[in-house]
């Protein structure tokens, strides 16, 4: 056989330098467009504070000044100066620890639930029953079970990340095209070998969707988790800021969580695009 058929394979063509220039311009444009709404919001905030609409909220400028002090110190030199890094590290270690544990338990469990009927019958109803309970509702119980402190935060993060990872993994396994099992078995890959050669790679896109959602929720839950009387962490900073009526501290904590959550999502997306470069849906 020969391959005179002209393939329509844009993905295979090497990008020309001219095209590269266009791509840079397009990137700058989309970056600029993405900035418009946040900048307008900042401007509105600034004007509202200037006009004296509220005394309780500091202006963006003041928050920026405080952020610098929070990060490197040297301006106010109070209890929170130059502590950003240690709070960030404390929170991130709980977020990633809880998330990693959730992924470690939820992915294998999801693969089993999706593939083994007995496991599904055993666990699925229970999980469906537990799932609607908000993570925040677990707070009092987790304080009793794990005491006041980081363990409790860790547990809540685990719980928050667990369900989306589990459910998406189960969904991924259940939606593997039956055709692929037929193809594998007629090629001599049967039984348990199909688990690693078909089920796992085929459900990887869904598993990644679950991981992204789970990590997002982990950052979401951390504030609640760190309300349980831990001395360090961004959630603790926000709680302290509230108690001390230091709104600029609250806003700084919010901004740092936002950026940290965004960056860790980018990290997962980067890994995902690398592992799923075979999938036409994962090229962005």
């Amino acid at each position: 056989m020969s391959d005179a058929t002209v393939p329509n394979t844009g993905a295979l063509a090497a990008p020309s330098p001219r095209l590269g220039g266009f791509r840079l311009l397009a990137r700058l444009k989309s970056f600029g467009l993405a900035l418009i709404v946040p900048l307008l919001l900042l401007l509105g905030w600034h004007l509202a504070v200037k006009a004296g609409m509220t005394r309780l909220i500091p202006s963006p400028g003041e928050v920026a000044e405080y952020m610098v002090d929070f990060a490197v110190g040297g301006i106010w030199d109070d209890a929170f100066s130059a502590t950003l890094l240690q709070h960030l590290v404390a929170s991130a270690s709980r977020v990633y620890g809880g998330f990693a544990l959730a992924a470690l338990v939820a992915v294998p469990l999801g693969l089993l639930i999706g593939r083994v009927k007995l496991v599904s019958q055993l666990l699925d109803p229970f999980i469906q029953l537990m799932r609607p309970i908000p993570v925040t509702a677990w707070l009092p119980l987790s304080m009793i079970l794990f005491g006041l402190g980081p363990k409790s935060a860790f547990f809540l993060v685990f719980l928050g990340a667990f369900y989306p990872i589990l459910l998406n993994t189960v969904f991924g396994v259940k939606s593997v095209e039956p055709r692929l099992f037929e193809a594998a078995s007629m090629l001599g890959c049967r039984g348990n070998a199909q688990f690693f050669k078909v089920v796992l790679p085929a459900s990887l896109p869904s598993i990644f969707t679950g991981l992204r959602l789970g990590l997002g929720l982990a950052w979401f839950v951390i504030v609640v988790g760190e309300m349980t009387g831990v001395p360090q962490g961004l959630g603790a900073v926000i709680m302290d800021g509230r108690t001390l009526s230091r709104t600029e501290l609250v806003i700084c904590g919010m901004i740092v969580i936002g950026i940290a959550g965004f960056l860790s999502d980018r990290l997962v997306v980067l890994l995902m695009n690398r592992l799923l470069r075979w999938s036409p849906l994962h090229h962005g």
Partner: protein
């Protein structure tokens, strides 16, 4: 003849049960295929041609009767019967090379032999330039070449093809028909090919098995004796086409085309 046929289908029937309704998809099918033969199954939808192919593939057990390969009952799918699906069934996460190597790798072939086999079959279907591409980057015709190479690389003795060119455009379909015939003549394969195109059946087959619906069954067989390569525009070809067409039309006036 005492020679054992590669494939022997004896009184095979298949009935599906959906809740309380029972649907008879195939009744009393008898078919013998000898090694090296190119046999086409043709008929309108619902005639049981895909069911018969899936039973031979081992994807479904027959409700009654037996399907034998080299005299032994077929039990489940196996590499000696390679299947080519209309929707390709390639593994989207594997490159062309890895898809073709999937079978030999699953069967634990040594690395050096595997590499040699893969390169040979990548070249055989003319995809050397696209060996590292993923299926979504290929055209339909290229995907189907990968699917064919994948079963050949896995030492399939008989290739089962379920309307393999049905989703391709006319030009690509003709190309692949030519390429398939060339492969078949060169390698001494046995092919069981399902189609609903009379022209495709006559162009490819040594023997055309006509099937009818309601319930699905084998109606008759036609041996095609036209010399190869066959010219679809020749009067002889058209005579066969008319004959076969009339046979199909006599049972379901509107469907055969």
């Amino acid at each position: 003849m005492a020679e054992l046929p590669i494939l022997d289908v004896q009184g095979v029937g298949k009935t599906y049960a959906f809740n309380d309704t029972r649907i008879e998809a195939l009744r009393d099918a008898n078919l013998t295929v000898r090694k090296g033969e190119f046999v086409c199954l043709i008929g309108a939808s619902g005639c049981g041609k895909s069911t018969l192919l899936r039973i031979v593939a081992g994807f479904e057990p027959p409700t009654v009767g037996t399907a034998l390969m080299w005299g032994k009952p077929i039990q489940g799918p196996a590499p000696d019967r390679g299947m080519v699906f209309q929707d390709y069934g390639l593994f989207p996460w594997l490159t062309v090379r890895e898809n073709i190597g999937f079978g030999p790798a699953s069967r634990g072939r040594p690395k050096s032999e595997l590499k040699e086999t893969v390169e040979r079959f990548v070249a055989l279907v003319g995809l050397s330039r696209f060996a590292d591409a993923y299926p979504h980057q290929l055209s339909g015709g290229m995907k189907q070449r990968v699917a064919i190479a994948r079963v050949l690389a896995n030492d399939a003795e008989i290739v089962l093809m379920d309307e393999p060119f049905g989703a391709l455009d006319a030009m690509t379909r003709e190309r692949l028909q030519d390429e398939l015939l060339e492969l078949w003549q060169r390698t001494g394969l046995t092919v069981l090919f399902v189609t609903h195109s009379i022209e495709e059946a006559i162009f490819l087959a040594d023997r055309v098995v006509v099937m009818e619906p309601g319930p699905g069954r084998i109606a008759c067989e036609h041996r095609i004796t036209l010399p190869r390569p066959r010219d679809v525009a020749s009067p002889e070809f058209n005579a066969v086409r008319r004959e076969l067409s009339a046979r199909l039309h006599s049972h379901h006036a509107k469907k055969a085309a």
